[in-house]
Amino acid sequence: MSKKILVIGSGPIIIGQAAEFDYSGTQGCLALREEGHQVILVNPNPATIMTDHAIADQVYCEPLTLESVTAIVKQEKPDALLAGLGGQTALNLAVELEGAGVLEQYGVELLGTSVASIQQGEDRELFRTLMDKLDQPVPESEVIKNVEEAITFVQKVGYPVISRPAYTLGGRGGGIAHNEEQLVELMENGLKASPIQQVIMEKSIAGFKEIEYEIMRDQNGTCISVCNMENVDPVGVHTGDSIVVAPSQTLTDSEYQMLRTASFEIVSALEVIGGCNVQLALNPYSKQYYVIEVNPRVSRSSALASKATGYPIAKMATKLALGYSLDQLINPLTGHTYASFEPALDYVVVKFPRWPFDKFPEADRLLGTKMKATGEVMAIDRTLEAAFQKAIQCLDTKAPVIRNVEDHLKEATDLRFFAIMEAFRQGHSQEWVHEQTKVDYFFLQAIHQIIDIENALEVEGLSQATVHRAKWFGFSDQQIALYAGVKEETVKQYRTEQNIHSSFKMVDTCAAEFEAETNYVYRTFAGANEIEPLTANKKALIIGSGPIRIGQGVEFDYSAVKAIESLKLLGWTTIMLNNNPETVSTDYETADRLYFEPITKEVIEDIVTQESVDLVFTSFGGQTAINMAEELEQARLPIAGVSFDVLDALEDRDRFYAALDELGIPHVSGQTCASEEEALRVADQYEYPLLCRPSYVIGGQGMVKVQNKQELMQALSKMEQRHFPVILDPFVIGNEVEVDLVGDGKHVYIPGLMEHIEPAGVHSGDSMSIFPATLPESIEAHVRTYSQKIVEHFGYKGIMNIQFLWKDEHVYVLEVNPRASRTVPIISKVSTQSLVDLAIRVVADGLDLEHVTIPEIEQVAVKYPLFSSHALPELDHTLGANMKSTGEGMCIGKTVGEAMAKVFSHLPNLLEKPETAFVEIDTDVEGSTLPFDKWVQTKDASVYVNDKKTAEAKRRRIQALKYGMTVFSEPTTFQAYVESIPYAKALPVTLPKTIMQGVQSQ
């Protein structure tokens, strides 16, 4: 019988809860629809595929609060609720809904694991009681409700101790304490972070092996272990910040089975129905183990396990929640065996975290119990060395310079892996490194082997044996060229002569035991090619965006997936290249074939050759993909859309400004400077403040507003050589507006404009914005005309984002991004027309945009940024040219006020309760009259407003953030919040249905 099922998503991306829930959520919703059910989704994350109408029947971009979801339940009257797909956020909401009697009142059945089980898994004290009952060992610990109890506990077990606040995600508010001062601070933050004011404090077992199992359980009680994983970093580093291998590498069979059996016992006792993650610690010198924690839901690890094995956990978990048993479900990879089996891998998988420290050089890089990574990459190969190397290639970062290896070893930082490599280069022994890091010798041997090969290449240059060995162990041609002191082309040519070439192999869940129908492929130099090219007339390769990082989030995965969808509709066969295990684009069911590999020219060239690709799409994978265009064109690969020359003409400041001058389009009169000296010379021609922006960066990284020459010199000295030329623009104070458009070379399609709340100078990714914009008519007309002129002038075909600045009557062009931008999903969803679809039709099918009608936009959307201050509490999140937010949310209303009120619905009404806010800007709004240090300790304190640049202002903002408050550092954002207060209590609104097929090609 068809049911109406409410699904709760995980909301905007923050550290600890990222794109993995888009993947899981999308899979889950599709599984529900496959079974004939109607999906009502609530998730205020516009950047996801999950909130697309291809995935859910009704989409609510509404706040994830008890009040808001209750209103949706009241409005929709769903039969059932599925909360296991939306991470901790959704699980907590389900517990709240049950607690408030909402589910009972409206007769909503909770699918999957029961609330009682969720609580038993998540509530530290209940969990510990259960473990005692099962005779499963847990580290000595106590539930702590205040500082005094913490001190008493430490007197018993000694330092260091680990604090884990109850019901939080990504270790929020948790950490490790080595002394009383740290302990007191940890307790204050932890108790504030926990919704039930509880932390569990446990004796540290740092140094143990950390092992995870991904378990599935059905209502018959059948359990299977999809995958186990071993952290390269021993216990002490959050698993989200650990380098992880799958399957475990250093466990004997009896250890492996002992931990697997323990996991089954726990999952069975919890009566989980669906997926469950169990984390364990194993003494490296005995069979003693501890259970660390369980997550009775799909998780980041389950997404990783799905990609590592090919077993679709979220999809199967959803079906189990609907009442199926594992042996009733077919394993979709083989197509003829059942879901009740355990995948056998015949390759090694490495997950490597992607940290935001390139954006935050001043952040604390030490890793601990609190997750700091924004995303991750995964690599597959037949050797561990190759998997490590490919993972590093996937990160899309420059090899870091390690000044002092010892700074990173004993206490792990994000650079530890690189420091280990450097230590071996410097001649340190494996014993020494093991002593420092406690990393297992097995992993150290592999890292050492990589360095041995580097040395061999340096000594021998190119030789058959060494190049063969290097490729076998995952060296890219670029790396080989670097160590052998030759050009990359030379390496490739040498390989061709020596017949050292890549092969492709399949991920099939069963180590080739059964015939498989999978289209999930990796590249290796170890073994024969077993992949037949797809048989098709037209093949498209879509380049993905790699790991989630600040400035390049899940929105680019949305674009890639939509591109695949549209190409398929046009009859193309699609091939995806990406390496982010958390995403929908790397679901092997998304494209016709998935290549899970680093995004490099070497890999792309091989795929194009292997598959005889007709078109390579570089505009749907963020800056990562578009950055490939030049190299690919030089390698004579067939690039879709405009040529690299056009891309260059748009991105090269001098060429671009020259074109704008020719077109009579105003722009800020910046200059390109090739060197530090030139920049300082050029700066003298202008008046400060200046905006200094480096080239080839993501999310405004390294972009700064400088007030004087000294600040400019400082900024330039920090700049890496590859980020030259830098552009110096005079800083104009004004408002920002942007458009996402599609051009067909002649005509332009602009569904609407997006206006920023904060003034220009705040990175567009960090600003709140309103779509459609409410601008003076003349401004809007200028924006449209200028856009049209740019498209026509460059004969631009495809998707493009243009940012404008306006002040009084004047409109200036700021910059152009010749690719799908961050805001494409928002505009597509609210305007009901997929921009990616139009762009694909233009590029791949010759669509003429002249007759495409622009839909009426009936609602207003407000986009807002989210800063993961819980993960990096030492940072001052003031807004500027350098993007700092990790994700974005969106709320919809009939008016701007309604949408805005939803965005701020978690905040108190400060007109009624001024004591909740502390306001230090020039405004009529009154806040608390207490001194700051007193106010910040009050229970009601929740909004802090300060836009000053002083050290004291910074201290206060950071303190407020540490206490989990909302901090406003821009007066216009605060103003928007104040103005929205009267519109609170607006009803939930669904996202308008998207038109997919409605456009008629001429």
């Binding site: 359990c223 042996d327 089996f341 056998a344 037949r382 059964f514 015939e515 170890a526 073994g527 077993e530």
Partner: protein, 354 residues
Amino acid sequence: MKGYLCLQDGQTFEGKASAHWKQPIQGEIVFFTGMTGYQEVLTDPSYKDQIVVFTYPLIGNYGVNEQDDESDEIQVSGVIMFHCADKASHYAATSSLKDYLEKQEVPFLTGIDTRQVTKAIRKGGSHQAVLSSQHVNTIAPAKTGQMQKVQGRQVETYGSGKMHIVLIDFGWKKSILNALLSYDAKVTVVPFTKIKELEGTDFDAVVLSNGPGNPKDAESYLPQLKSITDRYPTFGICMGHQVISLAYGAETEKLPFGHRGANHPVKDIKTGKVFISSQNHNYVVKASSLADTPLSTRFYNVNDDTVEGIVHDQKPIMTAQFHPEAHPGPSDAEWLFDDFFTLIQSKKEEGVYV
């Protein structure tokens, strides 16, 4: 030094040979898909005369230790690996896998694309294969009678518990003995060709062990075996299961390439539950052949519906094609031993054996 794996169908794979290659080695080539447990596999007598391919690419990571042997020596005749660790990384390791194989003069090849070999086995069915330092075109007929070779020489007794169990030896694994001993039992291990020596011995139940090769190699002993299983609570494991089936009139047949690994789903008809089992067998009991026997299927394989265990309609006889004693692989079916001992207990209380 280069070495070659030559399959019966003419396919040859080149790899790096181990030091001990006295002469070409021939055996049936089989693949094991478990990602851990190589030491248990190598020493499991059920692998006698076989050349084992490990599908997981990294073998030997944790070396070999003193606890995980399933018999006193390596039983396989050759090993094919993608990569074998030079060093062991584990606190309990007493040797690296390489040294262990070299010391026992078991030839092995590394650097082989084991996935390609596995596919060849899957497609062509079970093969004879030769490990050699050069290409080999002639392959002798398959050897038989492995069971006779691996069974012990004499009757041996272990433990001193209350319950006395006879373990009939077709090539028993230590884990079966250990599982039985953990139930406070005394276990007498009897080679299957020497069942007569049991005369005059008083015991409570009988377990028929695992073993290599074709169950029909034991055909001439079936009447003797049946005379015991007719009278005592009986548990047959793997080969034991097949032999019991033959003794009561069922038929066995060879699978195309066998089941070997730690991830085979088995469904229990009695409870409706599915569990994951450890498996290692080439032959199966033909489901259709059970029709005219007093035996019924209790367990079957979820993937290919083959028989995974039977019960006798009247007598206290139970069997498993898989390995409830695990090692390598999951111990999800360990409860079968509980069931067996409960069965023995209840029969003991009844005081009469049927």
